[in-house]
C-alpha cells in the first residue's frame, strides 16, 4: 500500500516542497562562505528575523501578501548592514574565527528576540488557502507558491551571478580576493553587496519557512542545520551545489520518511553526509581546496 501511485505521488509533492525550502535556506549561507569564507552561524537568526518581518507586515499590519514578501528581504538585509559593519567584516576570510564569533552573534540574536517577542510560536496565516488535487495526490496551495517563489529566487540569483557585472565581480572576489582587487574591483563594496543578497535570501527563506511552519525566537535552529547539511552535500560555496543538495535532502527525507519512517530518514541523511565527507569532502559540486 505504501508504494501505491498516490503515495508515490505524495512523496514527490512533499519532496519538491521540502527541497524548495531547503534550497532557499542554503543559498545565502553558501554565498557568504563562497565569497567571504565566513561560516555564518547566525544564518538561522536572519531567517528568524525574516519570519517575524512577514508576521508583522502580513499578519499584524495586513499588507497584501505579495508586497509583504517583497519587502521582507529589504527589511532584514538593510538594517543588517549595521551588523556587517559591527561584526561580520572582522571575520572575512577567517573561517574558524567566523564560526566562534558568529555563534556568539547567533546567541545574542536569539535571546534578544526572546526578550522582545516571548517564547511561544506564532502562526502566519496561509496567504493561499486550500489544496489542489491531482488524482488522489494532494498539494497545499501555499506549498506550491513556496516552490514557485524558490524557483524565481533561484533564477534571479543565477541571473545576478552569471549575467551581471556585479555577479562577475562577486565571482572574481570568490576566486581570489587580492587579484580581484588589483583588477579594480572594490572588494569592500562587493562584500557588502554579497552580504545584503545573502541576508536577503535568508530572510526570504525564513519568511516562507515561518509561514509554512511557525515563527518563534528559536525557529532559526532548524534552517541553520538544514543549510549546513545542504551545502556540505552540494559543496561549500557552490551555488548549483546548494540546489542539488537541497533536492537531495528534500527527496531523501520525503521518500525514506514515508517508506521507512522518520528515524531511518534522519540516519540516511546523516549517513550520506558522513560518506561524502569521507570520500568527497568538497561536496558533490564543490571544488577541492
Amino acid at each position: 500500500m505504501l508504494t501505491s501511485p498516490i503515495v508515490l505521488g505524495q512523496i514527490v509533492v512533499n519532496g519538491l516542497s521540502l527541497s524548495s525550502i531547503y534550497i532557499l535556506v542554503a543559498l545565502g549561507f553558501t554565498l557568504l562562505f563562497g565569497i567571504m569564507r565566513v561560516v555564518n552561524f547566525a544564518h538561522g537568526e536572519f531567517a528568524m528575523l525574516g519570519g517575524f518581518s512577514l508576521y508583522y507586515l502580513y499578519a499584524v499590519f495586513k499588507l497584501p501578501w505579495l508586497l509583504a514578501i517583497v519587502l521582507v528581504p529589504f527589511m532584514v538585509a538593510l538594517p543588517a548592514l549595521l551588523l556587517e559593519w559591527l561584526v561580520f567584516r572582522w571575520f572575512y576570510q577567517k573561517m574558524f574565527q567566523s564560526m566562534i564569533g558568529l555563534l556568539g552573534l547567533n546567541m545574542a540574536m536569539i535571546y534578544t528576540a526572546l526578550i522582545a517577542w516571548d517564547a511561544f510560536e506564532r502562526n502566519i496565516p496561509a496567504a493561499f488557502d486550500g489544496i489542489v488535487r491531482f488524482g488522489g495526490i494532494i498539494a497545499p496551495i501555499d506549498r506550491l507558491v513556496t516552490i514557485g517563489i524558490s524557483l524565481l529566487a533561484l533564477a534571479g540569483f543565477y541571473l545576478l551571478m552569471v549575467h551581471t557585472r556585479w555577479g562577475l565581480a562577486m565571482r572574481a572576489a570568490a576566486q581570489d580576493v587580492d587579484i580581484a582587487a588589483t583588477q579594480g574591483i572594490d572588494t569592500r563594496r562587493i562584500y557588502k553587496l554579497a552580504f545584503v543578497v545573502a541576508i536577503g535570501l535568508a530572510a526570504l527563506a525564513g519568511a516562507l519557512y515561518g509561514q509554512i511552519y511557525s515563527v518563534s525566537p528559536f525557529m532559526g535552529e532548524r534552517p541553520l542545520f538544514v543549510a549546513f547539511v545542504v551545502v556540505i552535500l552540494g559543496g561549500m560555496g557552490s551555488i548549483p551545489g546548494a540546489a542539488l543538495g537541497g533536492v537531495l535532502l528534500g527527496f531523501t527525507e520525503s521518500l525514506l520518511g514515508t517508506l521507512y519512517g522518520g528515524s531511518v530518514a534522519a540516519y540516511a541523511s546523516f549517513g550520506i553526509v558522513i560518506l561524502l565527507l569521507i570520500f568527497r569532502p568538497w561536496g558533490l559540486l564543490g571544488k577541492p581546496e
Binding site: A119, I131, T258, G262
Partner: protein, 389 residues
C-alpha cells in the same frame, strides 16, 4: 544642644524606633528552576511566571505572614537548560549558594530527577513536575518533593476510556519524539491502546523537526483513522495538525496528554478546528479568567503556557503551608503541612487532594480534575470533565 532640642530628638528617635517593626520586613527567598534557554524555554517561562504571579499577590497583600513575622518574598530563578546536568547545577546554586529552603519547578523528568538528588539530602522542599515515576517512587519515598501536575499514570486510564467510548477509533497513529521520554512513555501508551482494543502504529521523529508530512503520509497509507499527539511539544503538535489537514487527513486528531490547546490553535490556525485535547485548566471558571487577566496585565497578550497556572498553584500551596507551619526554616514542618493541606483551594483547580500511594508509595501526587475539550471557532470548548481515580 538645648535641653528641649535633646528631648525632642530623643522622642523622635523613640517614635521612629517604635514604628520600625511595622515597616521592617525580612525577606524570604524562594528558588525556582526551569529552562530559560533552548527548546524548553516556554516551559521555564511558565514556571517563572506562575511563581511570580503568586509572589506578586502575596507581596501586594503586605507580605507572607509567618508566625509573628511578615516576609517580603523574593523569587530567585535559575536556568536548567532542560537537561539533567543543568537541573543539578541550578539546584546546587540555589541550595548551597543562595541558601533557599523552598524550590518551585522544574519541568521535565531529567532536570527534576537530578534536582531531587540535590534537594532531598538537604531537606529542601521541591514543588515540581516531570513524568518519570521515579520522581516520586524512590528509596526516600519522595520525602521532600511533591508533583503538581498529572502524569499519564493518573490521567491516561480515564482519558482512554473516554476516547474509546466517544471517538470510536480502530487504528491510531502516534508520532513519538526520539528521546528518553518518548522511548520510555510510548510503549506504555501503545499497551494501553492495545488493552482497549485499539490498534496503533507508532513512529519516531527527531525533536526540533518541522516537517511531518512524510510520516503522516506513511500512517495515512497504513489506514489510521485517528492521530494521537500525546508526547509532542506544543509547536510540533500544532504543525502536525496543520500538515495532516493540508495533505487531506479529515478524520480525528486528538491529544491524550500534554495540554497546549491555545498554542496548537495559534500554530495550526483554521486547521485546528475539531481538534480534541486533554486540558488541565477550565478556562471558563471565573477565578481562571481573573488569573489570565493578571497574566496578560503583567506579560502582555501573548499565549499563556498551560503549565503557568500549575506553578502558580504550587507556589500558593507552598505559601499556605509555610504560613500554617509557622516557620520558614523547618522544612520538615512545612512538608508536613503540605501533606495535610487537603481541602485548601488556591483558586485554579479547586480543593487540594493528594494521591499516589498505590502507584508511588507516597501521597505526594496532586490529584486534579481534568477536561476533554474540542476546538470550535478557534476556542477550546469543554466536552467532558474527568477525575483521577
Amino acid at each position: 544642644m538645648t535641653n528641649f532640642k535633646m528631648k525632642a530628638t530623643l522622642a523622635a528617635l523613640l517614635l521612629a524606633g517604635s514604628m520600625l517593626p511595622a515597616f521592617a520586613q525580612e525577606t524570604l527567598k524562594i528558588g525556582a528552576i526551569g529552562s530559560l534557554s533552548g527548546g524548553g524555554t516556554a516551559w521555564g517561562l511558565a514556571i517563572q511566571r506562575g511563581a511570580e504571579l503568586a509572589v506578586d499577590e502575596v507581596n501586594k497583600a503586605g507580605g507572607l505572614k509567618v508566625g509573628d513575622k511578615t516576609y517580603k518574598v523574593e523569587l530567585l530563578m535559575r536556568d536548567d537548560q532542560y537537561t539533567g546536568q543543568g537541573g543539578k547545577t541550578a539546584a546546587e546554586r540555589l541550595v548551597f549558594q543562595d541558601k533557599v529552603k523552598f524550590i518551585v519547578g522544574p519541568i521535565g523528568s531529567n532536570p527534576v530527577l537530578s534536582t531531587v538528588q540535590v534537594t532531598t539530602p538537604e531537606k529542601v522542599l521541591l514543588m515540581s513536575n516531570g513524568f518519570a515515576p521515579a520522581i516520586l517512587k524512590n528509596d526516600h519515598k519522595a520525602s521532600y518533593n511533591f508533583r503538581f501536575t498529572l502524569t499519564n499514570v493518573e490521567y491516561a486510564p480515564n482519558m482512554m476510556k473516554w476516547v474509546k467510548d466517544n471517538l470510536k477509533l480502530k487504528k491510531v497513529g502516534i508520532l513519538v519524539p526520539n528521546d528518553a521520554i518518548g522511548q520510555q512513555v510510548a510503549p506504555a501508551l501503545v499497551k494501553l491502546y492495545k488493552e482497549s482494543g485499539i490498534d496503533t502504529i507508532a513512529d519516531f521523529y527527531e525533536r526540533g523537526s518541522k516537517e511531518f508530512s512524510p510520516l503522516i503520509t506513511r500512517m495515512m497509507a497504513a489506514g489510521v483513522d485517528g492521530f494521537d499527539l500525546n508526547f509532542n511539544a506544543p509547536g510540533e503538535a500544532g504543525l502536525m495538525v496543520k500538515q495532516a489537514r493540508q495533505i487531506g487527513f479529515d478524520k480525528t486528531i486528538f491529544q491524550m496528554g500534554g495540554p497546549s490547546v491555545p498554542e496548537i490553535v495559534e500554530v495550526a490556525g483554521k486547521q485546528a478546528e475539531g481538534f480534541i485535547s486533554y486540558e488541565m485548566v477550565d478556562f471558563d471558571q471565573p477565578s481562571v479568567v481573573a488569573f489570565v487577566k493578571a497574566y496578560e496585565a503583567k506579560y502582555g497578550k501573548g499565549i499563556m503556557n498551560s503549565q503557568t497556572p500549575a506553578f502558580y498553584n504550587a507556589t500558593k500551596i507552598l505559601f499556605e503551608a509555610i504560613r500554617r507551619a509557622g516557620t520558614v526554616d523547618d522544612t520538615t514542618k512545612v512538608r508536613d503541612q503540605v501533606e495535610k493541606i487537603a481541602g485548601y483551594d488556591a483558586g485554579i483547580y479547586g480543593p487540594v487532594r493528594w494521591t499516589g500511594m498505590a502507584n508511588y508509595g507516597v501521597d505526594h501526587q496532586l490529584a486534579l480534575p481534568f477536561y476533554v475539550v474540542e476546538v470550535k471557532d478557534g476556542k477550546a470548548v469543554r466536552r467532558a470533565t474527568l477525575q483521577v481515580d
